[in-house]
């Protein structure tokens, strides 16, 4: 069962074909749409589970699409980093479940259009899964565009006045970054004559010495392109608006998963360039280190001053992506493992926070901390979930955020860069301040609006996913060793050419 090779194709094709079928299936009754989407994601999750079990047993494996063998055919390749598709399936399914009530409530989303919302969501998830398991550079670009285009459209769904502007800004920056990726794919094809990642790695190692310049150019363009997608400091400007304005289930997907695509992309670039050994990446690592550190501090700093709860969470995403990038930049075993696992854990945590915030907005209609004062008494379960998420994101043991940040900090000291270790702790302190503010507003301050105290607890389709995610935040903290040891071989393999 686990050995059946075609799970690899199913895990991509199920969500993509589900996206096309959703509007058709729900022509007669639009209430079918979310359940059909959920069924699609269930199939995908089963396939993903088998793939992950297989990679744990036998290490990376590949699947030739249409039985055309690589390097000529398109190859899907599953390694430990690809296991991030598990969190894509999980958070994606839970966000779809939360959308059942949320989309009905969204005033600006016309009812007959709701099936298209789920279609876009499935496209987005399918694009992400494809991006994470492809072994072909051009395919990487295609999946990147599938998930980006559906992402732009999803931001605009909420129909609030500023939503279209935010989506347009996101689209402009995203399109430039995709172009940069395509440009460097072209360069790499020009100097190696191949698009298959494994093949490119071996061929890059043997290209003539005068091809180093184009290789540097390709590396730069790829890094900048993926940095825009991941929203690292100088190119983060699109993120706060887009993530704050989108409907909350979408925010959870965008903030928890879509920004991680940039990180996975960077990991792929690292795999190619470390593996080929054509360039010394010290400079790039230094740049990433600094940009990561700036993102951590700046994201956390801006988050403190936000009153809008979703805007605050959006800035905190920038801060957390900074941690991951810093982990990559340190390029020690520990820090890369920590960063890669934080991709997974941050998705859980941020989905908890955004879905809980969405539940508040759904029940009260308010979205600022000031307006939401006292909500902790009216919606105790959601508030507890939110608090667990908050504690996890600060990184207090024994929650999911702790181990990864600890590993990254250890990496900083191991790499003899203690300053960045302190930047990390400093950032955690800032994050602590703004989550204290949030918890304070919800539980201890006098409510401004009396009706906030009278709202009901979130409906079951929202409360269930929120509580499940919050529980996972705790469980992943206690069982934190499992993902760390799982990802270790991939990190070691990637860094092996460094001799570390």
């Amino acid at each position: 069962m686990i050995e059946w090779p075609h799970w690899m194709a199913i895990v991509v094709l199920a969500p993509l074909s589900g996206a096309v079928l959703t509007p058709i299936v729900s022509l007669r009754d639009r209430r079918i749409a979310p359940w059909f989407a959920l069924a699609t994601m269930t199939v995908t999750s089963v396939a993903a589970l088998f793939l992950i079990m297989r990679v744990a047993q036998e290490g990376p494996f590949s699947y030739p699409l249409g039985a055309w063998t690589p390097p000529y055919g398109i190859e899907l390749r599953f390694d430990e980093f690809s296991a991030a598709i598990s969190v894509v399936c999980l958070v994606g399914s839970l966000a779809i479940l939360c959308s059942v009530r949320y989309t009905e409530w969204l005033r600006e989303l016309a009812k007959p259009r709701i099936p298209y919302y789920y279609a876009l969501m499935l496209l987005n998830l399918g694009g992400m899964i494809g991006f994470m398991i492809t072994g072909d550079l051009f395919n990487l670009f295609v999946f990147l565009e599938i998930l980006s285009l559906s992402g732009y459209a999803l931001v605009a769904v909420s129909g609030e006045r500023t939503a279209e502007m935010a989506a347009f800004k996101y689209l402009l920056m995203g399109a430039i970054s995709s172009l940069l990726v395509l440009f460097s794919v072209g360069i790499i094809f020009g100097i190696t004559g191949s698009l298959n990642m494994v093949d490119v790695t071996t061929r890059l190692a043997s290209v003539a010495a005068d091809a180093t310049m184009p290789a540097v150019l390709a590396l730069g363009a790829l890094t900048i392109g993926f940095m825009v997608k991941a929203a690292i400091f100088p190119v983060h400007v699109w993120l706060p608006d887009a993530h704050a304005i989108a409907p909350s289930p979408i925010s959870a997907v965008l903030s928890g998963l879509v920004v991680k695509v940039g990180i996975i992309g960077m990991l792929r670039v690292y795999q190619i360039y470390y593996g080929s050994g054509i360039l010394d990446l010290t400079v790039l690592n230094q740049v990433l280190l600094w940009l990561g550190a700036i993102s951590i501090v700046m994201g956390a700093f801006f988050a403190i001053f936000q009153d809008d709860i979703k805007l605050m969470l959006a800035y905190s995403t920038i801060s957390n992506i900074g941690y991951i990038v810093m982990g990559l930049g340190l390029s020690t075993n520990l820090s890369v493992i920590g960063g890669a696992v934080h991709v997974f854990n941050h998705a859980l945590i941020k989905a908890t926070l955004f879905l809980a915030a969405g539940a508040f907005i759904y029940r009260t209609g308010y979205r600022t901390l000031t307006d939401l004062r006292g909500i902790g008494r009216a919606m105790p379960l959601t508030s507890i979930a939110l608090s667990i998420g908050a504690v996890s994101i600060v990184g207090i043991p024994p929650t999911a955020g702790f181990l990864c940040k600890w590993y990254i900090a250890l990496g900083a000291f191991e790499a003899d860069q203690p300053m960045f270790g302190f930047a990390l702790i400093f950032g955690a302190l800032f994050i602590f301040i703004y989550y204290i503010r949030m918890v304070n507003a919800f539980y201890f301050q006098e409510p401004i609006h009396k009706e906030v105290l009278r709202v009901e607890e979130a409906p079951l389709t929202m409360l269930g996913p929120i509580l499940l995610l919050a529980a996972l935040c705790l469980i992943m903290g206690i069982l934190g060793r499992i993902p760390l040891t799982f990802i270790e071989p991939a990190a070691l393999r990637m860094l092996a050419p460094l001799g570390g």
Binding site: Y152, M165, L179
Partner: protein, 117 residues
């Protein structure tokens, strides 16, 4: 230096085109013009990728009577074809967003929109 540039005049042309597009994207105020700038950038990248596959004295890679090696590489053409499809869908999405912005705000000038926020 100049000779090297002249030898790679096709790459130089696509870089120049790319920069023109980037300038329009940054400097222009009208959203549609901004997006046209992006389209020009896309074209520049496509042109660049197509020229990678060209070899001097090559033939079109179509098998049949009188087909003679060397051939131009067909892979970049296939890539660009996919790229164009992606570019068309990006354009469609952007234009529909611009229409919605115009309906809601009554303007598509970036500075006026910024004032409204």
């Amino acid at each position: 230096m100049l000779e090297a540039l002249w030898h790679n005049i096709d790459y130089v042309a696509s870089v120049v085109l790319f920069c023109i597009g980037l300038y329009i994207l940054i400097a222009k105020n009208n959203l549609i013009k901004k997006f046209l700038g992006l389209n020009i950038m896309e074209t520049a990248v496509f042109a660049f990728i197509v020229t990678i596959g060209v070899i001097e004295g090559g033939d079109a890679p179509i098998m049949g009577h009188g087909a003679q090696a060397p051939f131009h590489s067909p892979i970049p053409h296939a890539l660009v074809l996919t790229g164009i499809v992606v570019a068309v869908s990006t354009t469609a999405l952007a234009l529909s967003l611009i229409i919605r912005i115009y309906r809601q705000c009554g303007t598509i000038e970036a500075d006026e929109l910024r004032e409204m926020e």
